[in-house]
């Protein structure tokens, strides 16, 4: 195997697959990328056994072949390489030379036959979405994640479904950690008029990897079968193995059940929340929100450190309500909203608080209060 490839192409893709190859799996070879040289270019694959990636990149190929190389070392070598073109040459069995006249590396590869096979996906109805829109909803979705050791599928995974709404099609990601939940919608284009029979559970880790490949422009194809979720760009494909499990019925909690809408300045509120979360610690995460007539007072107290209090004028005409929340949850939700104004919806101290932007209704967060 012998080929010459554009440095930037190689560095770009290798940087994006590090999240997959650096993840611990039961197979050592998943720390490698698989490179297959064919006429006109190379196929590069990486996997963490849950999420698999494959891309095709143009290259001057002298001789065909296939190798498995350490993703991290290849990335570091390519990144620091002095020329725009990099020659990769298998001089002996699994003995790979990378270099030019001045720089020379010899790297030992692993047996390419041991590399896990990429699942073959056939006969799937793909639909199209704007890459930037998909990236946005994934980024909103992965804001909410469970503790590292939480193995529950509905927390490790995001719920994905395709819906018909107001005559248009949309894809929706729902994400929860058990205490809060968000729904993020993006439009999609499909010939298929029926909605998805059932939603699917996609690991958030895999979605996070997908987001790295999504650019500001262009569109992507999305599809799934009962085992995999697939995202396709022009020359790149990501396949994520679905999680098995049920997602809780979330529709009830994302619908406003009366309560009061409070219009607020996002910037002002987020600053207040940041100030009120300075005293929070592992044991004391809560702050008390007092919604009084036209006034919000937040107090935070941490027996180990001290207390904090701040008030802000708001438009609120309802009864006085005292609720406790983790301010961090609000900060996360607000950070994903681009508009200047947001709407909080509160009912009482037992019901969750709903947060959304004033006009863009594609992103909604529901936060459960803490019990005082």
């Amino acid at each position: 195997m012998k080929f010459t490839i554009n440095k930037n192409d190689l560095v770009d893709v290798l940087s994006k697959v590090q999240g997959l190859t650096n993840r611990r799996s039961n197979l050592v070879i998943t720390e490698n990328v698989l490179i297959k040289a064919v006429t006109g270019g190379i196929y590069l694959s990486a996997t963490d056994l849950e999420t698999g990636f494959e891309g095709f990149y143009p290259a001057e190929v002298d001789t065909d072949g296939i190798v498995a190389l350490s993703a991290r070392k290849l990335y570091e070598i390519a990144r620091e390489f002095p020329n725009d073109r990099i020659l990769i040459h298998e001089i002996e069995n699994r003995w790979i030379e990378i270099g030019n006249q001045n720089v020379q590396y010899h790297i030992v590869g692993m047996n390419a036959d041991d590399f896990p096979e990429t699942p073959q996906i056939n006969e799937i109805d793909f639909y199209e979405s704007d890459a930037a829109a998909l990236k946005k909803i994934i980024e909103e979705c992965v804001l909410i994640s469970g503790a590292g050791d939480d193995k529950r599928a509905h927390i490790n995974g995001a719920f994905f479904e395709r819906l018909n709404q107001d005559g248009g099609h949309l894809i929706r990601l729902v994400s929860t950690d058990g205490s809060r939940l968000s729904t993020s919608d993006a439009p999609c284009v499909t010939d298929n008029e029926s909605t998805m029979a059932e939603g699917i559970l996609i690991p958030k880790k895999g979605l996070h990897e997908v987001a790295k490949f999504l650019d500001a422009g262009g569109s992507v194809k999305i599809g799934n079968n009962t085992s995999y979720f697939i995202v396709k760009k022009d020359v790149e494909t990501i396949v994520i193995r679905l999680l098995e499990g049920d997602f809780p019925k979330y529709n009830e909690i994302t619908v406003k059940s009366g309560g009061h809408d409070i219009l607020m300045s996002k910037k002002q509120f987020i600053k207040m929340l940041k100030r009120m979360s300075i005293l929070s610690s592992e044991n004391y995460k809560g702050a008390v929100f007092n919604f009084n007539k036209n006034e919000l007072i937040i107090t935070a107290s941490n027996p180990d450190i001290g207390e904090a209090k701040e008030d802000m004028a708001i438009k609120y005409e309802g009864d006085d309500v005292e609720m406790a929340f983790n301010p961090r949850f609000f900060i996360d939700a607000l950070s994903a909203i681009e508009e200047d104004n947001i709407i909080l919806n509160i009912t009482n101290e037992e019901k969750p608080c709903l947060i959304e932007a004033e006009s863009d209704k594609n992103y909604l967060t529901v936060i459960m209060p803490m019990r005082l």
């Binding site: 929860t176 939940l181 909690i253 004391y284 027996p303 037992e350 969750p352 019990r371 005082l372």
Partner: protein
């Protein structure tokens, strides 16, 4: 100056006080069966080498006429409270460190209570008159020496280490006497060639710190007679636990789980009485070969609900492969936060509901027990087979 007061053979002395027949006899407080351990031994029993934490059967072997009495915790804590109240008359800075021990900082009190010796003697006299028991008092400029001093002249003793005596006292103090130096630290120190606290100063500080870590810093300070710890009234509770030695060794997990039920209730009740919640639940097992293990689990949200503590302790037990038969089992909680700390509610699971409902049950039971006694309401499975001993 700081006083350290230690009641003499406290539990055993209370028993002798309440039952004059026991005076002059070898008395130990503990479980009646051979399987329990000695909670306290009278001075008569100590002459036979009997000490607390010794298994009862060993104590019996050492002294044929041993009288074993069951413990009367409530009575002990009643007397303890009287003693602590008396100490409070002499200084506002009283730090109770156990049921029968306390530090009193009498710095600056000499105008009112007289010299250190006069104050100490006055306290001893007051306690003897009020509750009829003797105690030993140690006095020193720093806490760790005061504690050692109270042990120098037991029982009914008084030992004072004056500021000008500190340096020479420290020189000749065996390190094992220092509170915090257990078997392991002591042998680590011995390997370095340190037997006396004075030896520490001959050593390279870095080496001691490298070997002992944080405790190394403290040891170096102590070797110079410096102890920065202050007498702090109401030092906050850091953990709560209870344990019991079983009447027979067993590997029956069902039976062991039943033990946890009563223990979790006890721990839960103490948590609620202190208005605290705990983040960590710990299971303790001692096997028939006296090897002991602890297993802990952290909760997502802190709790004070007995049922939750029981559930977690039960999970820990069922996850454990029992190496041998179990001799002792216990439940503890730690990572305590104030009880009014807000608890995150779940959107789908019923964390808050569990806390709420069982919290109300606990509250009702606590009230009933407060009024009619601890044993008026118990879980049915505990009543069915009451086989454990204290």
């Amino acid at each position: 100056m700081i006083l350290h007061l230690d009641m003499d053979a406290f539990f055993a002395s209370v028993e002798q006080l309440d039952n004059p027949d026991l005076v002059g006899k070898c008395v130990v407080v503990g479980g009646q069966s051979n399987r329990g351990v000695v909670a306290a031994a009278s001075y008569e029993a100590r002459k036979y080498g009997i000490h607390s934490a010794m298994p009862i059967f060993q104590a019996r072997e050492r002294c044929k006429d041993l009288v074993i009495v069951s413990s009367h915790r409530r009575r002990y804590s009643e007397i303890s409270q009287q003693v602590m109240a008396i100490l409070g008359e002499y200084s506002p800075l009283v730090e109770q460190i156990s049921i029968d021990e306390a530090f009193v900082d009498i710095t600056g009190c000499d105008q009112i209570t007289g010299s250190t010796r006069d104050t100490a003697l006055a306290i001893k006299k007051r306690i003897k008159e009020a509750v009829g028991l003797t105690c030993s008092v140690g006095a020193a400029p720093v806490k760790f020496l005061a504690k050692i001093a109270s042990d120098m002249d037991k029982p009914d003793g008084l030992y004072i280490i004056r500021p000008d005596e500190v340096a020479s006292f420290v020189q000749h103090l065996p390190v094992g006497k220092i509170s915090g130096v257990g078997k392991k630290t002591r042998s680590a120190l011995e390997r370095l060639g340190i037997r006396l606290l004075g030896d520490v100063q001959k050593f390279n500080e870095q080496k001691i710190i490298a070997r002992l870590g944080k405790f190394g810093y403290r040891l170096i300070e102590l070797s110079r007679g410096i102890d920065k710890s202050k007498v702090t009234p109401h030092s906050p509770t850091k953990s709560i636990s209870t344990e019991s030695t079983l009447s027979a060794n067993t590997d029956d997990k069902t039976f062991l789980t039943t033990q946890l039920l009563g223990q979790a209730e006890e721990v839960g009740r103490q948590l609620r009485r202190k208005a605290m919640k705990a983040k960590t639940v710990t299971l303790k097992l001692k096997y028939s070969d006296f090897k002991q293990i602890t297993r802990s689990i952290s909760l997502v949200e802190p709790t004070q609900v007995s049922t939750v503590i029981y559930g977690k302790a039960g999970d820990l037990l069922s996850a454990e492969t029992l190496r041998k038969k179990v001799r002792l089992i216990g439940v503890g909680v730690s990572g305590l936060v104030p009880g009014d700390t807000p608890v995150q509610c779940g959107l789908f699971d019923q964390v808050c509901d569990t806390e709420n409902i069982w919290g109300k049950v606990d509250e009702a039971l606590d009230h009933i027990r407060g009024k009619f006694g601890k044993d008026i309401v118990v879980k049915a499975s505990l009543r069915r087979r009451d086989e454990s001993t204290e």
